[in-house]
Symmetry: C2
Subunit: 131 residues, 2 copies
């Protein structure tokens, strides 16, 4: 409960972004076209479609993202990272990464990190299987 909160604080203070906003931008930036379907982005950020819709609307009003109906199939909506959104992400990523390092990576050895990851993966698998 405390780790996400600690990261929230850092991001809010230094970049004016919430954790989920940051990750939405980050996920978009990882796509070659800086573009993802709303539903896919919702999956990737663990958000409901409704939550993402509101969130993207806010990001859009701040000029960080824009939306376009998929020209191939009018049922889909694409969220697209704008230049400004990309710039903000690039500007705020180092601070965020530093914070993650200092809170998590630096505490554990490489072997311990592998352990953490393995344990967490098992937990995640179990949770996902339990719906």
């Amino acid at each position: 409960m405390k780790l996400p909160w600690a990261l929230e604080c850092q991001l809010q203070r230094d970049a004016g972004l919430s954790f989920i906003e940051y990750h939405a931008l980050a996920r978009l930036s990882e796509d070659p076209a800086h573009t993802l379907r709303m539903s896919e982005l919702a999956m990737l950020t663990n958000a409901s479609l409704s939550r993402l819709s509101h969130l993207v609307k806010r990001l859009e009003s701040r000029g960080l993202v824009r939306r376009e109906v998929d020209p191939e199939d009018g049922r889909f909506t694409n969220a697209i990272l704008t230049k400004a959104g990309y710039k903000l992400l690039v500007a705020s990523a180092p601070g965020h990464v530093t914070r993650v390092r200092s809170l998590v990576m630096d505490e554990f050895s490489a072997a311990e990190l592998r352990q953490v990851r393995q344990l967490a993966d098992r937990l995640l698998t179990r949770i996902d299987a339990s719906d």
Copy 2:
């Protein structure tokens, strides 16, 4: 991110309580007098005082908790678990415990659980130290 959410769902569905509401009731029930200061309860539930104040007001309006000014010192407010609150907690605890077991405890061996705990403690210590 997913574990708290999975627990939320179970509690909301089976007991009509959010995770934090459940834990507030649980913490109160652990005290011999079923009573805690607002500030102490806020600490124990990792909530801000403001959040707890709103939350307890809602619980109070549902008759699960009541508030009394500390007779010893008028600056403190005590939150007190009511009979109804205790009954609800007792009724919903087994389902919650079962869920926690099936998602977490059952996945890991005793030795692994000790490891998880040790790793998590180190993480928590580091986070708490970083304010």
